[in-house]
């Protein structure tokens, strides 16, 4: 029996370890383990709906707004109230800003060093080494992160754990002069974004052999379905087989009925699969495999190039890096568009506590996020269930890792640790979300 352990996996969000066991005559098995269940579903019990958002926000600092707004939308469903249209617009704007920021961190801090220096010593593959060689690249990438933070700061009131939003409302709108200032900042960053997108595409082309080989595992895709384009919020989810076959549209209610949660023997992250489809992938690859287009001109223009190079549907996990930068381009275009809208209309409604049950689904940066909330008549949380992207992706990721181990072998191959960690980073797993 051969065994390979990577503990901890570096340059990812959170603490996790990988163990690969290869018994003779059987394919290797990959176990991604993370311990330290944080109990947020139980922490939230008894919280008044007014205090729920700041609590769930602390599940993940990089996805905080997605948790807040998914909880808010589930509570609104439970109470049977509908958020005013201006509020929905502000929320969408803030979500795009956080997705932009999150992808910029994932690309610059976690993944880019592997693509830039694939053959260097791992200890040199990081932001600090890149900075010593080329300051400009780091400044550009973290500059993009700062751009997302800046929009989020204005719209959310804070860039980490935003405070502006509550169930059924927001404390303030973004005034006209601020919107104009943000738009001109976005415009200033246009060349930076276009260049960065070129850089990531170029790097992936340079590493084409590796990108098409590492973790290229066909899997069913699950994502929210927009009107012919990618969406972050919505009432329709879709699941499709690995080759775009057996497609099914599901309401959030139907989707919840088809989810199967199971314990893992080596991790506190519970696995979730979709009945009839098994282990299912969520995230940037699935969003595009389901929807086909982003729905904005710049991003779609670049997407055609990606599709012609990598084929469609896309299953090569490293192509996820390119899709992340395309999602950033898309978010940039959406932020531009949404900031043009005048600040007209109500941003808050009065929410009276009442008993009820509701669920909401959002596309978080790394995939589908689901909240189910039950409230008491006094507006206290009676039950909370949430499903985070890593819970879907864990099994698909492990299958990808096992495939790498099988093809390359875990003994005597110096690059195996690198290859495995590159595949993990391509999924940008969020361990704090998984351990909620």
């Amino acid at each position: 029996m051969a065994e390979l352990v990577i503990d901890p996996i570096t340059r990812i969000g959170g603490i996790a370890a990988l163990r690969i066991v290869a018994e003779e005559a059987t394919p290797p098995e990959a176990c991604l383990s993370a311990f330290g269940y944080r109990g947020f579903e139980q922490i939230a019990l008894g919280a008044h709906l007014d205090n729920l958002l700041p609590v769930v926000s602390r599940i993940c600092g990089l996805d905080s707004l997605f948790h807040q707004l998914c909880a808010a939308m589930a509570v609104e469903k439970a109470l049977g109230v509908e958020a005013p249209s201006r509020l929905r617009l502000l929320r969408e704007l803030a979500l795009h800003a956080q997705l932009f920021e999150r992808h910029a961190v994932s690309l610059s801090v976690h993944s880019l060093p592997d693509l830039l220096f694939p053959s260097s010593d791992p200890s040199l593959r990081n932001l600090v080494s890149i900075y010593s060689v080329d300051e400009e690249v780091v400044r550009r990438l973290l500059g993009l992160k700062s751009l997302g933070s800046m929009v989020l700061q204005e719209v959310g009131g804070n860039s980490v754990h935003p405070v502006n939003f509550r169930t059924g409302g927001a404390a303030r709108d973004v005034p006209g002069e601020k919107r104009d200032a943000l738009r001109s900042k976005l415009e200033e960053a246009r060349p930076l974004l276009v260049e960065t997108s070129r850089l990531i595409k170029l790097l992936l082309r340079r590493n084409e052999e590796m990108a098409s080989r590492i973790g290229n595992v066909p899997a069913p895709s699950l994502a929210l379905r927009g009107p012919g384009q990618v969406t972050m919020t919505g009432e329709r989810a879709a699941v499709v087989g690995p080759q775009g076959d057996g497609e099914q549209d599901l309401s959030p209610h139907d989707l919840l009925g088809r989810l199967r949660e199971s314990n893992s023997a080596y991790s506190h992250v519970r696995n979730v699969s979709v009945e009839g489809y098994g282990e299912t992938r969520v995230g940037p690859l699935s969003r595009i495999n389901i929807n086909g287009h982003y729905g904005t001109s710049l991003a779609d223009g670049e997407l055609e190039e990606v599709k012609s190079q990598w084929g469609f549907p896309i299953h090569a996990c490293l192509v996820g890096h390119v899709l992340r930068i395309l999602e950033m381009v898309h978010a940039w275009e959406k932020m531009h568009e949404l900031l043009k809208e005048p600040d007209e209309g109500e941003i808050s409604l009065e929410v009276k506590p009442a008993a009820g049950k509701g669920a909401a689904v959002l596309e978080a940066p790394e995939g589908m996020l689901i909240y189910e909330v039950e409230l008491t008549g006094e507006g206290l949380v009676k039950d909370l269930n949430l499903v985070t992207p890593l819970q879907f992706n864990q099994r698909v990721l492990e299958t990808s890792l096992a495939k790498i181990a099988e093809e390359v072998g875990i003994e005597g191959e110096p690059k195996i640790m690198d290859m495995l960690q590159m595949a993990i980073r391509a999924y940008a797993p969020c361990i704090p979300c998984g351990l909620h």
């Binding site: 570096t10 990812i12 969000g13 269940y37 700041p54 599940i59 600092g61 905080s64 600090v128 992160k145």
Partner: protein, 298 residues
């Protein structure tokens, strides 16, 4: 001066602030001062450093071993963020016993190689000696930058000692006001004191340093994310709930019992960020519990 950036059980929000410091961050990485930061670099063992920033909570033996390793290797240890300083929102899980919580989530599951869980959720200084505390959920970029500037120059970082109210720029709406109220039911009026307007604002008991962002700029009640102020920590007669109820009763001209039944989620409303803090938990009217010894540090 070399630094380490260490995560225990956390949301990574403090790391996001670190990465958002722009020019100051470039100065740090340009001078090659980061020796250990698994979030950013490929390293697995803590290198000897002058300053270790530790964020998050010790939740199991793995975190404890890491914390101990950091203590051995670092000249000075900083509890970064409210989780490390006071337990934070994650500390609310201390309401439940570890095995009960696991059973509710996982049923009878058993794991291979799972590290043993801690009996209680406690701030970092309950496990290792901590030299400095920088609370905030997360601390603002300004706070973190000023802290690092001082600490890396070998100076004593500034420690905020008063309350959010000391920084807050609002006026009294005149009392009595209706309430207690919730922001979801009646959106607050910006520029007016939230506490006097009948909202459970934790400003009077929360450490300053954030610039009173929520009450002053957003018109929202303070939730207490910077953790308890010095007075709230050190005065044995101050209890977060009692104090807030008393103030709200005065603002809304109601009886304490009426306020208590209106604010029906006391754990979340009054102790959202500090339930795991032993100084508040051990509080007895006769006072003088061990937290007093930590005055100089905190």
């Amino acid at each position: 001066m070399q630094i380490a950036l260490v995560s225990l059980s956390s949301c990574l929000g403090c790391q996001a602030v670190f990465l958002g410091m722009e020019e100051y961050l470039y100065a740090i990485i340009g001078e090659n001062r980061i020796s250990f930061a698994p979030f950013i670099m490929d390293n697995r063992e803590v290198a000897p450093v002058d300053l270790a920033l530790v964020e998050g909570t010790v939740r199991h033996a793995g975190h404890f071993m890491r914390a101990r390793e950091v203590r051995e290797k670092a000249e000075r240890v900083v509890a970064l963020g409210t989780c490390a300083c006071f337990g934070g929102v994650q500390g609310l899980a201390d309401r439940f016993a570890e095995d009960t919580m696991l059973r509710r989530r996982f049923g009878d599951a058993a794991w291979e190689g799972a590290p043993a869980g801690v009996k209680r959720l406690l701030p970092l200084d309950s496990f290792i000696k901590v030299d400095y505390f920088l609370p905030g959920c997360p601390p603002t970029q300004d706070l973190l930058r000023k802290f690092l500037e001082a600490a890396l120059a070998g100076a004593q970082p500034q420690r905020e000692e008063t309350t959010v109210c000391a920084e807050c720029r609002v006026v009294s709406p005149g009392i009595p006001q209706p309430g207690p109220r919730r922001t979801t039911e009646a959106p607050p009026e910006r520029g007016k004191c939230l506490m006097e307007a009948g909202y459970a604002c934790m400003g009077p008991l929360t450490r300053d340093g954030c610039g009173a962002l929520c009450p002053t700029l957003m018109g929202l009640p303070c939730r207490g994310c910077r953790g308890p102020s010095d007075r709230a920590l050190l005065d044995p007669h101050v209890d977060m709930r009692e104090e807030t109820v008393r103030r709200l009763a005065r603002a809304t001209d109601s009886k304490a019992g009426e306020v208590e039944s209106a604010v029906n989620d006391p754990v979340h409303a009054f102790y959202m960020f500090c339930l795991a803090e032993p100084a508040l938990r051990r509080r007895r009217p006769e006072g003088s519990s061990p937290f007093v010894q930590r005055l100089g540090e905190r």
